[in-house]
């Protein structure tokens, strides 16, 4: 196994880790993915033939709290990364768990919110607002869920010794993903909820 450690830091042309570079490229493609979903939402804004309409149904105060929760989870993610980079495994575990829990809180908020919308008559099939809203926020929620699973995996793996300060890069990349998902939510919250 010894030459593995030697191979862990191969020379790269940019000095950046290849996996980090790949992940940034992936985030670039994700920008286009969410950008297309957001554009579809904006193109169909105001075009629904029947209600419910955004003004009637969206609950900005409630969603603001969800947004704050997700924002705070980015803070805890930074703290988790700091923890593992400094070799403080306890700190890492606490903050990565906190991040995952805050993410789950956000998701719970989404579920509550969407259930109430459905009860009020907003469905995927009902009108264009329902279709574009739920597909956009649904894919975002799916990304958050995948992130939550990723974070818990890192949490569990840290106990088995597979996540260590030497491969803090893994946590850093998870952090990039998590912050990205947060930024996308800011964009959605602004364009869907705040600007009507």
């Amino acid at each position: 196994m010894s030459h593995l450690a030697v191979a862990a830091e191969p020379r790269t042309s940019t000095g950046l880790h290849s996996r980090k570079l790949a992940f940034w490229a992936f985030l670039g493609s994700e920008c286009l993915f969410f950008g297309s979903l957001i554009s579809t939402y904006l193109v169909y804004k105001g075009k629904s033939l029947v209600g419910p309409y955004p003004g009637h149904i969206l609950n900005i105060p409630f969603t603001s709290v969800s947004t704050f929760v997700l924002l705070m989870s980015s803070l805890t993610m930074v703290l988790a990364l700091a923890g593992i980079q400094r070799g403080r495994m306890g700190q890492f575990r606490v903050w990565i768990a906190a991040t995952a829990l805050l993410g789950m809180t956000f998701l719970t908020g989404q579920v509550i919110e969407f259930s109430s919308f459905v009860r009020e008559g907003l469905t995927l099939q009902g009108n264009l607002f329902g279709a574009t809203f739920f597909v956009l926020t649904g894919f975002h929620g799916a990304h958050v869920s995948a992130g939550v699973v990723w974070l818990w995996s890192l949490f569990a793996a840290s106990f088995g010794g597979r996540v260590k300060p030497e491969n803090a890069l893994d946590v850093e990349i998870a952090g990039l993903y998590w912050h990205f998902v947060d930024v996308v939510w800011i964009a959605i919250f602004t364009l869907v909820y705040l600007i009507q």
Binding site: T12, L32, S36
Partner: protein, 604 residues
């Protein structure tokens, strides 16, 4: 894990057996897998074309029914673009790029294998439609609302959309891999402006892929939601606009055509200098024009929609942007011709194909300029004129370029030459065949023959020209058989080839033919563009400095693994389950997650 000792035999026997291919993570073998799979799909697409041409050889023929014909032209286009041309290009990315940048493999060898297997499974899934209720029949760009459940009942369009979604995963993964390989794994001294043009074009193409494919991914997802979940993204009765599909599709679709042509342009930028014995003229301009084309590619999409009625302002904007994109394309052509100028041209098979590319691409590019003018385009679009245009750029362009690459790099990959005489026959038959097939289509279009018609009236003056096109298609078929014969004969008994059969200037020619699994015994140090020519011009004392250091004492080669194939199978089963039953999707998801987890936690 395997390692290789410092003293290296000149040519090593590679591992053999089916499992060695299933579990390979070596970019050179993955390239071979891509090549043969893509070529098989190319033959399938070609058979589809021959049936189409038999049907159209005369008016009112009944070789196939209308519905079968509509499936054939849909599958011909989809197959040629996504299952033949793109993966053939990927085959060259795989084989050539790590060698040209001086690396031992791509950045993520297992992800590389994964890309190939997803391609294979996706392609098989798409073609399963023929025997599972009918292939898609709405054209390769599947306009809404014809593709809705109401107007396209059955599963044909589901296979199409889900198949393309799967193939998108393959292309995206490969693009990430090549971006990182080219940006991060270059040999010391190889700055970006010393990168061979083929690798540059691979980089640009990869960026186009990662930015364009997500858009069609969203479009296909919206379509599938309409077809399977009852949404109304493209249902006019609910207030939706089918033109949104066109915008989303072409925002992907136009970059896609540059994804199709830039790699071939990269190939001939390597072939021409080698056989003209001159470095590429205006290297920086060729590179910058490729980058400029990529940027502009996202600004011209609505030139596919001039008849939709977007309004004079939009039409004018896209007319101007489309004309603008002709400029960097022209710059490349002029630089290629200038490369020949003053050179000493050797007409090998590879060179013939490269020269044929230029000649044919000029024609295709010019008919493209004709399309750029909306009022004129209102007579040309959706007719055989545009069919002529894109076949000239894709067949006369991309395919000829890919053949040039094959004759050029085959000796490196196999240690044997392809037969030059058969190659010459292949070239001439191809050139004659393609012009016979596609040149009359310019006339057919301007004389009023629309595209995508399973038959035509016998009194419109189309009969003779269509017959000529059909004859040409069979000439192409013969030329393809010549190539296949050459390929298999050369694989078994081709004349042995040295490391540098052509006197090339780039790094791949500095290692044995075929290369050892680890490519370079010692990672070279690069001092300029065309490092081999640079070294050959320098004195012998400087040779070692230019070309390499002591052989590495310890080379780590990634171990073979079946996990990428397993994960790919899972990825392909998830969409398949949407047609065959959600239990299949659940199995697919489980297999995929298992494969990915094991892979993520297995050190390379």
């Amino acid at each position: 894990m395997t390692t290789a000792a410092a003293a290296l035999p000149a040519r090593e026997a590679g591992p053999t057996g089916l499992w060695s291919w299933a579990a390979t993570v070596d970019h050179k073998r993955i390239a071979v897998l891509y090549y043969f799979t893509a070529f098989a799909f190319f033959l399938l697409g070609g058979v589809e074309a021959l049936i189409i041409r038999l049907q159209l050889a005369g008016p009112g023929r009944h070789v196939v029914s209308a519905q079968a014909y509509n499936q054939l032209f849909t599958m011909h286009g989809t197959t040629m673009i996504f299952l033949a041309l793109m993966p053939l290009s990927a085959s060259f990315f795989n084989f050539v790029v790590p060698l040209q940048v001086g690396a031992r493999d791509v950045a993520f060898p297992r992800l590389n294998a994964f890309s190939y297997w997803v391609f294979l499974f996706g392609g098989l899934f798409l073609n399963l439609s023929f025997v599972a209720g009918g292939a898609p029949a709405a054209g390769w760009f599947g306009y809404a609302n014809l593709t809705s459940g109401q107007y396209s009942p059955g599963h044909g369009i589901d296979f199409w959309a889900l198949g393309l979604l799967t193939l998108g995963v393959s292309s995206l993964a490969a693009a990430f891999n090549f971006i990182v390989t080219i940006v991060n794994l270059r040999a010391p001294g190889m700055s970006l402006m010393r990168l061979p043009v083929f690798s540059w074009m691979t980089l640009v193409t990869s960026f186009l892929i990662i930015l364009a494919f997500p858009i069609i991914t969203v479009a296909l997802i919206l379509l599938m939601f309409d077809r399977m979940a009852g949404t109304h993204f493209f249902v006019p009765a609910a207030g939706a606009d089918p033109v949104l599909w066109q915008h989303l599709f072409w925002l992907f679709g136009h970059p896609e055509v540059y994804i199709l042509i830039l790699p071939a342009m990269g190939i001939i930028s390597e072939v021409l200098p080698t056989f003209a014995r001159r470095p590429l003229f205006g290297y920086p301009f060729v590179v910058y024009s490729g980058i400029f084309i990529a940027f502009l590619a996202f600004g011209v999409w609505s030139h596919h929609m001039f008849s939709v009625g977007l309004g004079p302002v939009a039409d004018s904007f896209f007319a101007l942007s489309t004309m603008l994109i002709a400029v960097p394309t022209g710059v490349k052509i002029f630089n290629w011709i200038a490369t020949l100028w003053g050179g000493s041209i050797r007409f090998t098979a590879a060179m013939k194909f490269a020269l044929g590319f230029i000649a044919m691409f000029i024609i295709g590019g010019l008919s493209g300029v004709m399309h750029a003018s909306p009022p004129a385009d209102l007579q040309q679009t959706d007719t055989y004129f545009v069919v002529a245009h894109f076949h000239y750029v894709l067949f006369g362009g991309t395919l000829l370029g890919l053949f040039a690459g094959m004759y050029y790099w085959f000796p490196k990959a196999t240690g044997r030459f392809m037969d030059e005489r058969l190659g010459s026959w292949h070239f001439w038959l191809t050139l004659v065949g393609m012009n016979l097939t596609f040149f009359p289509m310019h006339f057919l279009g301007l004389l009023g023959m629309p595209r995508r018609v399973y038959t035509y009236a016998g009194d419109l003056g189309f009969n003779t020209m269509n017959l000529v096109c059909t004859v040409g298609a069979f000439v192409i078929a013969v030329s393809t058989l010549v190539f296949v014969a050459n390929l298999f004969r050369s694989l078994r008994a081709g004349r042995p080839a040295p490391p540098d059969p052509w006197g090339g200037g780039t790094l791949e020619w500095s290692i044995p033919s075929p290369p050892p699994e680890y490519n370079f015994a010692a990672i070279p140090e690069v001092r300029g563009r065309d490092p081999l020519w640079l070294e050959q011009r320098s004195g012998p004392a400087e040779r070692r400095g230019a070309r390499g250091l002591r052989p590495d004492a310890h080379i780590h080669v990634p171990a073979p693994t079946g996990l990428p194939m397993l994960a790919a199978l899972g990825v392909a089963l998830v969409p398949a389950g949407l047609i065959f039953g959600l239990w299949l999707s659940a199995i697919g998801a489980a297999v995929m997650l298992f494969g990915i987890y094991r892979w993520a936690f297995t050190p390379i």
